[in-house]
């Protein structure tokens, strides 16, 4: 059973799990998906890639940013059966570039943060709804992004 107390201008309510069982009747304002001010996830409403997405870490802004953008764009727009199969050259170029900066792009197990100090403060998170609505190919994309994120930019 919830109970309240008032300490001056501050009100304190204690609740139990049961108190919060019933769904909330608080109303939230409908979000406008085309709001120009909102941050977007990986894919912009126009279908383009948001290179500034925090989820990419600093992949698009590092020394190998150019190669990464080329490879990733190729993959994203690829309509082949095996998505991205025509992008091998780009990915190879990216790989070559990354090998020149082992500190930034550790080549070992992607899930480790690696000995480099390269973790970045990814600025603010993208709006969750947008990220969730990323298309099916997102599974691969997100894995790519994920590994790169862990591997640091």
């Amino acid at each position: 059973m919830s109970y309240c107390k008032q300490e001056g201008k501050d009100r304190i309510i204690f609740v139990t799990k049961e108190d919060h069982e019933a769904p909330s009747n608080a109303e939230l304002v409908e979000d406008d998906p085309n709001d120009p001010y909102e941050d977007h996830g990986l894919i912009l409403p126009s279908g383009e890639i948001n290179w500034n997405c925090p989820c990419l870490g600093g992949m698009a802004s590092g020394p190998c940013g150019q190669q990464f953008k080329e490879a990733f764009s190729c993959f994203h727009y690829s309509t082949e059966e095996v998505k991205g199969s025509e992008c091998i050259e780009h990915f190879r170029g990216m790989q070559e570039c990354m090998q020149k900066y082992p500190e930034l792009y550790p080549q070992e197990d992607e899930n480790e943060s690696g000995p480099s100090g390269g973790d970045d403060t990814a600025p603010a998170e993208p709006s969750n709804t947008d990220a969730a609505s990323v298309p099916d190919s997102s599974v691969d994309e997100v894995t790519v992004a994920g590994t790169e994120n862990a591997a640091t930019s």
Binding site: S2, E7, K9, D10, R11, I12, I13, F14, V15, T16, K17, D19, H20, A22, S24, N25, A26, E27, L28, V29, D31, Y37, E38, D39, W51, N52, P54, C55, G57, G58, S61, G62, P63, G65, Q66, K69, E103, L104, N111, S113, S116, G117, G118, D119, D120, T121, A122, P123, A124, E125, P126, S127, N128, A131, A145, G146, T147, N149, A150, S153
Partner: protein
Amino acid sequence: MFQCKTVWNKMAPLARASSTLCRQSGKREVLRHVRRPVLAHQALMSSGATGGGMENTLYVLLVGATCLGGGVFVYRTLSRDKARYDDRLSDISSRWSEQREQGPAQAEPQQGAAASDPPPASAMSPVEPALPEVPEHAPYLLIGGGTASFAAARSIRARDPGARVLIVTDEADLPYMRPPLSKELWFSDDPSVTETLRFKQWNGKERSIYFQPPSFYVSPRELQTVENGGVAVLMDRKVTHMDVRGSKVKLSDGTEISYDKCLIATGGVPRNLQVIERAGEEVKKRTTLFRKIEDFRALEKVSRELKSITIIGGGFLGSELACALGRRSADLGLEVVQMFPEKGNMGKVLPEYLSNWTTEKVKKEGVTVLTDAVVKNVSYKDGKVQIRMKDGRVVKTDHVVAAVGLEPNVELARSAGLEVDSDFGGYRVNAELQARANIWVAGDAACFYDIKLGRRRVEHHDHAVVSGRLAGENMTGADKPYWHQSMFWSDLGPDVGYEAIGIVDSNLPTVGVFTKATAKDTPRAVTELSGTGIRSESETEAVAGAVAGAVAGAAGAPAPPPQQKEDYGKGVIFYLRDKVVVGIVLWNVFNRMPIARKIIKDGEEHADLNEVAKLFNIHDD
């Protein structure tokens, strides 16, 4: 104005002399009039008219002569000063043109008039006609090398392919993040932590405070020519003058750099107490104003060598340092005292009942907390720093840390012609963080217009990231206003922490909804789950779906549930302004920031905040 001052100073003895003369004659006059009634009636009129006739003329003559003499003197001094001034100006301008002819690379040896730090002894005059160390032009110039600047650099590079970004910083370090300096770095068991500046998060993952290792950056020398551009950091240089008309800045050594777009992210300088400023050298050299890496290193050394440290200030920095030092106090035999004028830790941020609770937690970390403490006087006596408070209490300590706020750095306002905000301090910018055409400001130094919450200035890490990023976007043509609300967080050890967003001011009326906490409701647990201790990033990490091994069961034995007296186990606190929620604190409730952000963005009046609290599902996990 300067001339007048010098002239007046020189005139002073003369002025004094003449004024005494006036006074004395005046007195004589007065006394004469006073004495008059004593004389006979008949004498009255005659004495009045002619009384002191002789003396009068003499008096007039004297004053006249003085004035004439003074006038002549003033004229001569002014002309002499002007001559000297002209000489000096021509001197300086000839030196400037000399430097320009010789080229910026060789400007460094000529320190001359400039009174600031000399640049590092890196290769200056190259043998072949190669590039100068400092590029003459930077399409994107970022002044300041902190969090906001780095976030902007990244944003620019992401949006403008091949962008060439130059960061100029007066520190000797590459861009780094500040929160671990008062938290994680202190909890490290590694004795070389002051060198490596790497910290272990609660979940065991290691990380450096530097955003990127040196290999990420290009050298300033190569910036203009390197293929695909890059980010270069010019360290140990201070921008001392900004010429907006000419779109260029001048460094402390006289070097000029022109720009197309400029970001000012100069952050701030820790404030000091006046009583310490006035207390003399012995006290000042035992006082730390904590902000940078060097301050961390110095304080870490102090904590190992001295027996007592007192922290003045009860806000974020003061409380975090107190907790950090408190945890070491037992091992080091160190006494840690924290004092502040409020009634409890975070007194300006948390409502009183939570502030009291927080204070008890800080005390449990081994800190002697003195509340309602206003420092009246600080002195150095018998080998100890003595702090005397207004109510008579005295604290004797070896070292003082002053954590009493930040003074935003607006040194460039004058030369650049930028507006400074009188309410909040910092450069005044619009909602798009723009100060003037082609000049943006981000981070601690920016007083910006928040469309939802009004004009404000925010001194938190995530705000530096969000605003830096936005500035970078706008510098590359986005023209977006500040919209994504930044958050902040603080941990009081591994067991209790909170995240907050918006205007979190304890003066506002609050409504708090609390419930009992479980073992999963701790900063340690949430770090394990999200893979990062920098909690502004935990949401991003979740979206990127990166950290595979983060699922429950990762880190050994489960932590025991936190012990709390009252039932403030976990909860949500709403801060209201005119019945609208403008700020939210999530107390031991994690991964709910998007909901909090949404509620503030809506800006609606809610009749029952308990219903709003339900949206957070604080009982789920």
